[in-house]
Symmetry: C2
Subunit: 322 residues, 2 copies
Amino acid sequence: MSKNEFERIETYFAPLTAGFDGALSLKDDGAVLAVEAGRELVVTTDTIVEGVHYIGDETPDLIARKLLRVSLSDLAAMGADPIAYTLNIALPRGTGDNWLEAFAGGLRADQDAFGIHLAGGDSVSTPGAAVLTATLFGSVPAGMAVRRSGASPGDVIFVSGTMGDSAFGLAAAQGALSADKSEMDALEARYRLPLPRVNLGACLREIATAAADVSDGLLADLGHITEASGCGAVIELEKIPLSLAVRRLVDQDAGRWGQVVTGGDDYEIVFTGRNESRVTEFSARLGLPITAIGRVTPGKGIEVRKSDGEPISFAAAGYKHA
Amino acid sequence: MSKNEFERIETYFAPLTAGFDGALSLKDDGAVLAVEAGRELVVTTDTIVEGVHYIGDETPDLIARKLLRVSLSDLAAMGADPIAYTLNIALPRGTGDNWLEAFAGGLRADQDAFGIHLAGGDSVSTPGAAVLTATLFGSVPAGMAVRRSGASPGDVIFVSGTMGDSAFGLAAAQGALSADKSEMDALEARYRLPLPRVNLGACLREIATAAADVSDGLLADLGHITEASGCGAVIELEKIPLSLAVRRLVDQDAGRWGQVVTGGDDYEIVFTGRNESRVTEFSARLGLPITAIGRVTPGKGIEVRKSDGEPISFAAAGYKHA
């Protein structure tokens, strides 16, 4: 016999509040969040649906971790230091306690990895597909949240890490890609468990004029920045940083560049800034590759150029999440 | 052709952020919440599912308003002044723009009624039942959040408004109650659109030792207080405040007292306190009936007594939300 909602909360979720007094042990009508004087709260929230945002064959702990990481990535893009989260889960009636236990284990692992705590939430049943919502709270010094709207012509465009791994990882997971087995496994792992650039967040407050995380695809998310900032951009295709596996894939078929610049779920950060040497300094300090890929321009839209100056166009500027 | 998620956000949700700069017009990865110096944030969140938490025949504007009101009631019980909310909606693919428009209209109406703003959220599709989550933010002076755990023996137990209207309103909506048509309509209205006691929230900080909102039923929610406070309670059945319609129903059949004390969704506040005359003063100032119904006792559990002292027991101590 599976546990009722009260028992589930007591068994699986209340322990995740340990060390965070503001959760009031999930025994009150709400949680209390203290925000240090001189700081503001940053709130970001994501909902994922079974069969839409995850394939359905993932283990519950990976689903939990990806749910948190997607929003941790948003916090990082805003320059915020993560604090806590609330969790709302609507699960099909038959969901077993073993699923809950594994799911809570995934939450626990990433709480420890990223220094966050469960602050509150809601747990309900649904006759339909599972729907999972995490709302993450972080903080920034007042007025220092990094926006999408701060870019201006002449700014350099940077991206963290490498682009496209997740798009090819999804293709690999779906059996739609044939390549070296160990490289496919590595790409699939990037898709299944993204690595949010949480440590970059605090640095962005010092070096970025604008930022967004790459969730919809590089062109789409850079497009959010240029649109919000009222300017355009030129990026150089060959400067886009690639992992060895993705490099090999685009060398085999240049048509795959489309997936690199429009594929989603990279959860890297694209940002604009003026001080390239400080960016280099932070990159070294964090041990995180950060690459200049282009410049903000007056005007509108994003132009992608090859090294010989030839402009390239891509069919779709990033997929739009359902 | 119905709008995509980006267009929906732009058309229906972005306008709901007007007047709240921290929403960043829904154009960033998150929202920014400033919390005044000396105050703390209170966060509460609820998820409702189509076919589980609402019957399915409600108009979208009523669904939206009830979603907000359920959490506004939680904020009030914590003594918090409401500020803003985030909204996560997972809707079946076929959901039309007219549904969205009416839903957004309900949000707008209650934003205006309760002085809150949309701060952010997520909008996704689901192959299953609609799942709607609202996360409400309020604030209290630091350290002043009203908890469930502060009651002690000798405290008087108070409730706002009247009890049981919503339970009989649900029965009326389901055709399971036959009574005077206008009275049934009034009860049903209480069920469909609860009135959270938002103004009582700030007063509770001054008069309550502990509080909870009556969402699971009077006995269940008072039970949350006594359990968290490590004490018991005695309440006097005849002192429980009833509307005229519910009074008539229990006069016809005393068995219906069970629904009064165990039925949920009243969204009144049950609280404990020591200074009855200050409670009376606030009651008059707010124009809100507040009634003393019993006392906190040493020991454990809740005893319900008739005026002649005879104890009564009820089958189920409040229903538990699915």
